[in-house]
Symmetry: D2
């Protein structure tokens, strides 16, 4: 699958002269939104269906710094999906291949009222799409 590209903006740097660490969490979101779109399920469509997918956990390693105007290549893939929980993995590198970041986000699914929902009941097509995304390693 084609990688998602994020070019680091000036407002994303900090006084150390580097991309502030909190922004990579936002780049993860950008790549996740892009992944869902490529899988045929743009996030705005899910929200229209009354499906929300909040982050319930994160873990990540910062491997090498980036700074203003660097282009970060991000690959994202569905690592695990068990009907109620979704795990997405991210690998970020510079254009020259230097790895800069690895992370995993974990998500649940809730309805408009904020209560957990069973995807297989509420939206079986999306349930199927996530299952096959895991089998294909998100590729």
């Amino acid at each position: 699958m084609e990688k998602y590209l994020h070019r680091v903006m000036y407002y994303e740097t900090d006084k150390m002269g580097l991309t502030h660490h909190s922004n990579y969490i936002r780049f993860m979101e950008e790549a996740r939104v892009d992944l869902l779109e490529k899988l045929g399920w743009p996030y705005e469509k899910l929200e229209e269906l009354g499906l929300f997918s909040p982050v319930i956990g994160l873990s990540c390693c910062y491997l090498s710094p980036t700074t203003f105007s660097d282009v970060i290549e991000i690959s994202a893939e569905v690592l695990e999906y068990k009907g109620a929980r979704l795990k997405v993995g991210y690998k970020m590198s510079k254009r020259d291949g230097t790895p800069v970041f690895e992370g995993v986000s974990e998500h649940c699914f809730v309805g408009k009222n904020g209560r957990p929902i069973r995807l297989s009941k509420v939206c079986p097509e999306f349930d199927e799409a996530m299952k096959s995304a895991v089998e294909n390693g998100g590729k």
Copy 2:
């Protein structure tokens, strides 16, 4: 009226080593929220009443830079109010009195559907509060 204090966070600086200019727009919002609260109309209460007050215009001058851990003292006051439009003015300075920023934000009032509303009809008490805030210079 007591000034609102904002201490500059590391994530609010940029690679020039200074507070990024976009953050002052956020500090304006912080001071505006604080002002409305001091006037007896916390923004969350307005939203519960179905009243929203989007920004429709901004203008500002950056007078002197600030950086991480600086405490910015912000005074905010209602400059103008004409039933449908609200203008709020802001003056920011360092603890030693150095002026760092001056700005004005302009707001309209809309309901949940995003349509303009007449405050004097929908919420006459808030209308009155804004009128007297202008008379008192927000003080």
Copy 3:
């Protein structure tokens, strides 16, 4: 000149369901960086030459809201340049042509020590580039 595109991210929205107004100030920066690059003077090159261009003033109007996944088309142009001061203008619209934002930013030029510099002395080529950018209306 080709327009700069910004797709609104989920983290750029707020609880009103719309793009938070402070983010447009960041989109202005993105478009300015892009403009300088198209004019042959990428901002990272200017910084390597010891040239910094802080924002000293802003003014803007919010014309129509945007939200998550909207693509904003941004045109930026050099409006004024007088050796020590630079004014850049921005017009943003949705893909369907709806105007969403207009703004102007004003900049000075300083060296690494933060003191004002005369571009015509320190970097005559950039001085020339800005002069001709005004003549061409940033095109």
Copy 4:
């Protein structure tokens, strides 16, 4: 040790109506800066000494959402310190005691050139302070 308080700002919410998950990473930084200050080592002092402490890893769980105007109480403590690596733990809760977030950040220490440094050599007093912070559980 007194808890650090962060009041959620409007610009920290997203279109789900809740505090965007990336902001908690910033609240962790705020609480860490506060912790170091309380331990007698404000971060700006460390930077003056040429000591930087970038984040090299994060992990966290989101336990319950927060939104605009909620006050988050944050306790931070030094969990581990081994001369080259520092682990800080964070617990966040609402004023009513509801747990909202738990996280850990891992840090290394580098000099101005970005190279790792041995704190015991470069700044033995800070090295001692971190050691006793672990013994006291950051309290």
